[in-house]
Symmetry: C2
Subunit: 406 residues, 2 copies
């Protein structure tokens, strides 16, 4: 398995994409905000969505369209979430219709997703105008423009691709995502689209996606707010020519592992580029009684506002880590907990057997000044392991969210 240089959602065979400036938010005249991704042929598909009861109309329409496990294209926009709108369904259906007409495919094979402000009427004119233009621009090089078109407060495009071999055939999996705010466990993203030229049934695709999500997007939190629009969809067009995966065989395992690593990479990109974030925080827990306890403890640590603010300040305030583990609801023995901070600048133990140890504040500061900080927690009480991904809490998070609508 290897990650491709400049890999993107159009890296797999038979996929094209494009994104344009559609001015969905009238004030936007400089950033791409409408995009499409399409496969030359019909794909197996699977998707997971937000667990929020308040759901974007785009999700309701997409759910219906992929009921048969098939899809061929994605249309997505930033600038408006199409959520809590009386005519949202109608608008989402029209987006699919426009995509289908211009790509010459079936309307029911289109996945639609939106991200942006909740509760503002979705203007349809920008799509009527932009979609024909996008259809003309669809190309193998368009993945990166599609990545830009779904960004909101993201500061960097999020894309990657990975290559594996299945029965002598090269299989590629590509991904694009947007994240930033309103990001929380289940699932920790707003939008992500994954493409692959693997031949795989929609049942096995759903199973692989579910395994991958569990340890990647579902372990990310930026701010504890579960979005209304979270959508992660995967399309597999079979162009690689591998034997179709229809059972949990060896090829399934290789494919799932690659998909998992790709999703983990994307999850870290989301966390590290959380709204206002200056640092990626990884909480790595081992020695838990069960995997469930390890996950709960890791998530509590990366979700704690106090831990997040301390990391922003490069302050080795490990008491807040213990506090978060303590209220996580997990079955732990406090008197066995060890905590270390790790980064490219080194590793330092700050807590042993649930109590503080003497450590050099200077060394700790040096370690915590790095951009990627791992909080290593050993519970010394079993074999359960987990990792969760988050970011620091900064002035800029408050600034960005104090006045997002204007």
């Amino acid at each position: 398995m290897k990650f491709l240089e400049n890999g993107t959602v159009t890296s797999p065979q038979g996929f094209t994409a494009a994104g344009v400036i559609g001015s969905v938010k009238a004030s936007n005249t400089t950033k791409r905000d409408i995009m499409m991704i399409a496969s030359d042929t019909l794909c197996s598909t699977a998707a997971v969505f937000t667990k929020n009861l308040v759901k974007s109309s785009a999700i309701l329409v997409t759910k219906k369209h992929i009921e048969n496990g098939k899809a061929q294209a994605v249309i997505a926009n930033s600038g408006n979430a199409n959520t809590c709108n009386a005519d949202g369904i109608e608008k989402a259906e029209r987006m699919c219709e426009l995509a289908a007409e211009n790509l010459n495919i079936n309307k029911d094979d289109v996945i639609v997703a939106s991200t942006g402000v909740i509760g503002q009427v979705m203007p349809i004119e920008p799509f009527e105008k932009a979609v024909p233009e996008i259809a003309k621009l669809m190309s193998k090089d368009g993945g990166t423009n599609a990545a830009e078109a779904i960004m909101t407060t993201d500061t960097v495009k999020k894309e990657a691709a990975v290559e594996i071999e299945l029965g002598g055939k090269t299989v590629t999996i590509g991904a694009v995502a947007k994240g930033s705010g309103m990001i929380h466990i289940n699932m920790g993203t707003m939008l992500s689209f994954v493409t692959t030229d693997a031949a795989i049934s929609s049942e096995m695709l759903a199973s692989a996606l579910s395994e991958a999500v569990e340890v990647s997007y579902n372990m990310v939190s930026v701010d504890g707010d579960t979005s209304t629009n979270d959508t992660l969809a995967i399309l597999a067009n079979g162009k690689a020519g591998n034997d179709e995966i229809t059972t949990r065989n060896a090829d399934y395992a290789v494919f799932t592992e690659a998909l998992t690593e790709l999703c983990k990479k994307m999850a870290k990109k989301l966390a590290g580029d959380g709204e206002g974030a200056t640092k990626l925080i990884i909480c790595s827990v081992d020695g838990a009684k069960t995997k469930f306890d390890a996950k709960g403890a890791a998530k509590a640590v990366i979700c704690s506002s106090l831990v997040k603010a301390a990391i922003f300040g490069s302050d080795a305030n490990w008491g807040r880590v213990l506090c978060a583990i303590g209220y996580s609801g997990c079955d732990i023995d406090v008197s066995k907990v060890d905590v270390s901070f790790v980064s490219d600048a080194g590793e330092i133990e700050v807590c042993k057997d649930g109590a503080g140890v003497d450590f050099s504040e200077e060394t700790a500061k040096k370690i915590l000044l790095e951009n990627e900080i791992t909080i290593k927690v050993s519970l010394n009480d079993g074999d359960g392991k987990a990792e969760a991904y988050g970011c620091d809490l900064t002035y800029d998070y408050v600034k960005i969210n104090g006045d997002y609508r204007t």
Copy 2:
């Protein structure tokens, strides 16, 4: 029932208090940080503590001391939490011993509480020196100094007292609290001490306290972090001379109502003075299927970082309110939800039947610029009601917590 002007924890008959500068944190030479509250006679007592598995040694000692439902004094400090320390129990016991010796009471009748940094060894010398001094200063006017001594990042002292009549006798209930950060549901405070001259059995006291807490301290969140040191204790010395309350009779109802109102007032003080807060946010939910659903929805709204940041920016971003209700886990029908923002400057409806309504952004801004904002949510689906208390998320929260230890 009436609130007293300048009411405090020493307002009830037979209670005295004092607080001094003990320099528990060596760098502190200007703020009172050790205090005692004492009753002339032995009291019925009840208490509730944090549900965090990581608990201050002070809590473990207090739990043991009040097992018999009796106590006579409180010793408390700020500047060190006495949590995650190998010798914490020993130090907490010594604090009680010092209080008992100098107040001439039984060591097992002392309640001890600490608040401050977790995981730093508790220095005992400041107590050896300060406690004899405090004992000499104990007076009816000392309540306010005691309030100061438990403040950490609090910007104002939190104290109040209420007066009721029971069978022709005047009964007073007084309270002192500190809050600020690491404040979350169950229970939303760090330390609070309540005194009363009511005659009431410890069983009825525990019952009344539990009723009061449920709708006050347990409905407060500042930052979603449940502290390791939360302690709320009540002492009743019977000096008012009312017939002792030993069953859930009419006097019990009057007493519990007054205690509840007092705790609600303190809860709002805690929320409004949350770390870095500029505004108190009240989320008032009605029309829920059950009281449980109403509480869950109200809590989700005041806990949402995105709602909190929007209120800081006086931005009527009601979509985030819907989003929080949607992920609260409560049983709601999204299409029936109405939302209004209310303050001293007026009321404005922003969402009706789960979708946006046209409203004046100018009027909304005027309403949201006030210091106390009520987010009114009507679920229109039953009779369940609840209120939760929180605060906005500001630059100062990040600043305070980015480098708290130094």
